[in-house]
């Protein structure tokens, strides 16, 4: 699922919304990071409607112009839940890894214990196996 599609579905999970309402909600949800343009929104919306993830809810005429609201379908909710779970699992993994990670400064001088005989640097078996430099 693309990022705009994910945010559109998330916006509609909060209730039916019309086109510009979705744009505003997506901007809020993403902290202003995703600013959908109208062309982008309707490309996404067309695909979501044809895939049965989103459907028209109701129509109203505002200032003589058609305003159509969309809502999430049951299938759309399930797809969103599955994608959100995938992203949450990936985020959990990243957070767990980061707990044990400490930044290492590049170019740090080797400690006395790591220096080899006559000033040469010894390669650890792990580094050799990885094919990397010490």
């Amino acid at each position: 699922m693309t990022q705009p599609a994910f945010f559109v579905l998330t916006a509609l999970a909060g209730g039916p919304r019309h086109g510009y309402g979705i744009v505003g909600e997506v901007a809020d949800l993403s902290g202003g990071r995703v600013q959908l343009k109208i062309g982008t929104l309707y490309g996404v919306l067309d695909r979501l409607v044809s895939d049965g993830l989103v459907e028209p809810d109701r129509e109203e005429i505002r200032q003589g112009r058609l305003r159509r609201y969309y809502r999430l379908t049951e299938r759309g909710g399930a797809e969103l839940a599955a994608d959100a779970e995938r992203q949450a699992a990936a985020a959990r993994t990243a957070v767990e890894r980061l707990r044990g990670w400490r930044p290492t400064r590049a170019g740090r001088a080797p400690s006395a214990g790591s220096a080899g005989v006559a000033g040469t640097r010894r390669r650890s078996p792990r580094a050799v196996a990885d094919g990397g430099a010490v």
């Binding site: 019309h18 062309g39 309707y42 490309g43 067309d46 305003r67």
Partner: protein
């Protein structure tokens, strides 16, 4: 209807008619809502003198291209053909790069350590070596394999790297050089960048059957090795250059496509596009051919004329076949939200 709305509707005309019939009113409403303001004076000014922002126009242009290539919205028979054609062009481009890089590197490895110029007495002698550029060119093979097996980010990243590094090197090398470079080098760089853009038509959900593509790559390598083994004088005067090689492949391919009883329209269209690109390359190389000393110019000039004639004929046939196939398609249904 105010001026701003009229201008936005004019931009929306870029979209395919069936799509517009379904979404135009909603898009206009959403767009006008996006520029609404509480200040009545400002609202009046915007309505009469405002223009859609460039980013909004760009989003519609991009949507129009993506719809026509079946990359956005609901695919139509027409968009599937256009999208399929550009995917074929993208894969053929990577295939060409991969086959050329493999053959060049194989040839270099075979000749490693031998004198570079067999028939010239150069002092001190220059020997064939394997440069970093030769090895880097093998990234074409990685990019081709990545595209074939659905690793599109890798394929695109490597292709961007390869095209930009080659283009920048050529530009820097020729900055102080002859102005003729821009006549034939310029279009060639533009063509490469356009071909690079076709990689964004590749779709992770449409995976090509890799078997025939691997066979085509091996065939391309064999053809390139045969080309490299040809007499040096024939190559040196551009009787058969790289554009000539493309012609040798594309023109028979177009004839085979023409003879097939059930033609895939995407292939006809892809061949028409690739033949058009090759024609640009051949015509771009013509000034170089005309600079050849008069005593040697006849053979490459005849070769260039034959190439142009064959490409124009094959290209025209592919265009006719493609246009007919597209015209035979049912018009897209005028879809409404209810139906």
């Amino acid at each position: 209807m105010n001026t701003l709305e009229r201008r936005y509707r004019r931009v929306l005309r870029l979209l395919p008619a069936p799509y517009r019939a379904r979404w135009e009113e909603e898009m206009v409403e959403a767009f006008l809502a996006s520029v609404e303001t509480d200040d009545p004076e400002r609202a009046e000014y915007v309505a009469e003198f405002g223009r859609p922002r460039l980013a909004e126009v760009a989003s519609v242009v991009l949507l129009s291209v993506r719809l026509r290539l079946g990359l956005a919205g609901t695919p139509t028979p027409r968009s599937l053909i256009w999208g399929g054609a550009f995917r074929i062009v993208a894969l053929c481009w990577l295939l060409t790069g991969a086959a050329m890089a493999t053959a060049f590197t194989a040839e270099r490895v075979r000749a490693l350590g031998r004198p570079l110029y067999d028939d010239l007495a150069v002092e001190p002698p220059v020997f064939v070596t394997l440069s970093a550029w030769d090895l880097a060119s093998m990234l074409w093979v990685v990019a081709f394999a990545a595209a074939l097996f659905g690793r599109l980010r890798v394929a695109r990243g490597l292709a961007v790297l390869l095209v930009l590094s080659t283009a920048l090197t050529r530009i820097v090398e020729n900055l102080a050089g002859a102005p003729e470079f821009w006549w034939y080098g310029g279009p060639s760089i533009v063509v490469e960048v356009c071909l690079l853009a076709t990689l964004w038509t590749l779709n992770p959900t449409v995976r090509p059957w890799w078997g025939p593509w691997i066979l085509a790559w091996l065939g391309g390598v064999a053809l390139m090795l045969a080309y490299l083994a040809a007499p040096t004088t024939a190559l040196a005067w551009g009787i058969v250059d790289s554009a000539g090689l493309y012609t040798i492949v594309l023109v028979p391919a177009a004839m085979v496509q023409l003879a097939r009883p059930r033609r895939d329209p995407a292939w006809s269209l892809a061949l028409a596009v690739m033949i058009g690109i090759t024609l640009i390359r051949v015509l771009g190389a013509l000034p170089g051919v005309l600079n050849i000393p008069p005593e040697f110019v006849m053979a490459p000039l005849v070769a260039a004329v034959v190439e142009v004639a064959a490409l124009v004929l094959a290209g025209a046939l592919m265009v006719v076949v493609s246009v007919r196939a597209l015209a035979r398609l049912e018009p897209d249904p005028h879809r409404t939200i209810a139906g």
